[in-house]
């Protein structure tokens, strides 16, 4: 199998393509493939030239942390859950996520996700949940990996300066569902940085590796906001 990787030595250097031959287990995932290529005394590309190990991030290697999010054959995936057998043909291409600054090869800087949440005070404060807590929705929402796959497929996301994408809305929901008194304040940030721009394309929900039902969260946020408004 031919593996082509869009590489970049450093953030300010130009990207370039480099290809490798993979002869490892067919049942591997893309993460397993990267490990396989990188584990050699010398790393040789498909032209027979010595090259450097491919930079990529991983931690859990089983779809629980989101570190290895990347684009495989133009499909944003978690590399540790993307099985080679599910990609057609004898060639795969690996690219870093495109909506985040590239640090090195397939490693990107996703710190903007966390910065936007901090800057907008998206935290619970005091725990005062509404009486009708939705445990299933809360549980699933709290599994958000902040992996960035949803941002990658979002038709409205541009540079992350005003519209922050699904992870922001998700955490806004978590705050509102845990502190009803903060529902109003958090809804304003949610309106400004998510709802006003969201195209309701729902690509974010389809791609989410945790299966988070964002539309249910959005609906609940609207309800909580309405209730807060009525009570104030």
């Amino acid at each position: 199998m031919k593996v082509s990787v869009l590489r970049r030595k450093e953030p300010d250097k130009e990207p370039y393509w480099e290809s490798f031959s993979y002869d490892g287990p067919e049942e591997n995932t893309v993460a397993g493939l990267l490990d396989y290529i990188n584990y050699n005394d010398d790393i040789i590309n498909d032209k027979g030239e010595k090259t450097t190990r491919i930079g990529w991030e991983c931690s859990c290697m089983q779809g629980m942390c989101g570190a290895c999010a990347m684009i495989v054959n133009d499909r944003p995936v978690l590399a540790c859950e993307a099985f080679l057998k599910d990609f057609e043909g004898q060639e795969i291409t690996l690219k870093p996520l495109s909506r985040f600054p590239v640090i090195h090869d397939l490693i990107v800087d996703r710190s903007g996700i966390h910065e936007s949440l901090k800057e907008n005070n998206v935290y619970i404060g005091e725990y005062r949940p509404p009486e009708d807590k939705d445990f299933e929705q809360d549980y699933t929402s709290a599994k958000c990996l902040k992996c960035g796959l949803c941002i990658e497929v979002c038709p409205r996301y541009t540079d992350g300066r005003k519209f922050y994408g699904a992870p922001f809305a998700n955490d806004c929901y978590l705050v509102a569902s845990r502190n009803r008194e903060k529902s109003g304040e958090i809804s304003e940030a949610y309106d400004e940085h998510f709802k006003s721009e969201c195209a309701y394309d729902l690509a974010c929900m389809k791609i989410c590796p945790m299966g988070i039902k964002l539309t249910a969260s959005m609906k609940k946020l609207n309800t909580l906001k309405r209730e807060t408004g009525e009570n104030s």
Binding site: R53, C65, G66, Y127, Y139
Partner: protein, 543 residues
Amino acid sequence: MEALVIGSGIAGMACAVRLARQGIHTTLVSPAPSEHSESVMAAGGINATLQGNDDGDSVESHVLDTLKGGCFIGGEKAVKGLCEHGEEIIRYLESIGTVFSVDSENKPVRRAFGGQSHKRTYYCGSSTGKQIVSALVMEARRFEAVGMITRRLRLNFYSALIKDGVCCGALLFNDSSSRLEAFYSDFTVIATGGQNALFGKTTGSTLCDGYAAGKLFMQGAELKNLEFIQYHPTTLETPQKKMLISEAVRGEGGRLFYLENGERVYFMEEKYGEKGNLMTRDLISREIYACGKEAFLDISFLDGKTIDERLSEVRDICMKYRGIDIKKEPIPVSPSVHFFMGGLAVHLNHETNIENLFAVGECASIYHGANRLGGNSLLSAMYSGFVAGTEIAGRTSHRKYPDLTAYMEGERKNLKKSFDSKSTFPVFYIRDMLAETMKDDLGIVRDEKSLEAGLSDIGYYLSIAEKIRYDRSVPPYFNYSLKAILTIAGATVYSARERRESRGAHYRSDHTDTKEEYAYSSIVSYGNGDYTVRLDKEQIYES
């Protein structure tokens, strides 16, 4: 006053939040965000004795189970503190929005875990660790927003800044700038997890490698109980790693068996009776090892709804990575390295033998003795973070930072010299050889011969590490971390050789008995390339 917390999993965040709440500005550094920490992988649950637990359950019972599981070398005072705070920690976690699984009256529910006399493991579906991480991230953000916690990513530990036995911060390697940064602090807390990389890929995170503990060991910190390494009995083999099959499966009634002439032999139940499948992890691992056959874990008899509700993570892993439907067929399982009971030796307040240097979470060794009970790691991660945070907040610092410019410049020059190397000697290759050595010679069953062989191999790797230059095609961290990782590996095998008995997770085929003379924690120290092991008979770390 300024605190530095290195590592942002559950223990690191718990400590940072506790410090910030008490008005101490805290810098929380890590190579990656908390979402990538090993803590998110803790699936099973967190132990606590709350009102409403089973009749007969009590804090004392939790203490006894923990001490018994640890073969009575976990410190009694430390364990008592841990178990007494179980309820407070559950209430705290609820108050920051952790989504515990609840009953129809919204009360958190419990499951049974191995080695426990009562059902006291509270859980959040099948992702307890992740749910706690998410809640703590949100709580830490609250203090980040008001400037009491400063988070810095892409920073790796390099070494502690130590002068006259007192720690005053750390040298950190910045991945973005490829430079060393000096960070002075009044108090430094290490929260870097277990020594996974010693064994290559374990059930845990690839980010946890034991480097920080190894480096601090070389700088004078003492390590404790390194020989006690928990092999989790039920992991699933996949091409990329061995994946944990949570103890929750056995907690929900899962049965272990092997096949003999086509018939199922429920070996744990046959040997240990009705509760055989809930024996401690070390015992089951040894029984699987001893049977010499492929073992299976069956939960298919449970109704599908309960599996979906309580074991969805296990269901998904088996289907995704092996195409196994746990509702219909048993899971092939084998033991794999899962948790390190050993680590930095700490006193009851979580301070190491180096003043103002603390350690919390899995990198610290204090509660679990010779073997950890399932559900006690999340509890100890939270509790240790709180203990260290409270201790630090209660102290004052009037000290001026010493001048360590010469040390820092020396380290910068050493690192730069290695960057300039043209050699491509593969560091990963040595790390992989180390993993093979550790798996072969420090397995579930050890003996003098295998441990001697391990020490000899590691001695050889260390001699190479001294001579080779660096591999420029991997991040600098992987290069500079090699020697300390090899050193802690050597100390681990050495400690295992010196404990000539069997106890908990440490089983010696040439010394199968548990011996009274060894009924103490082992402490290992380092000097001029040599290890010195002693038993902590005076219990100096129980103070």
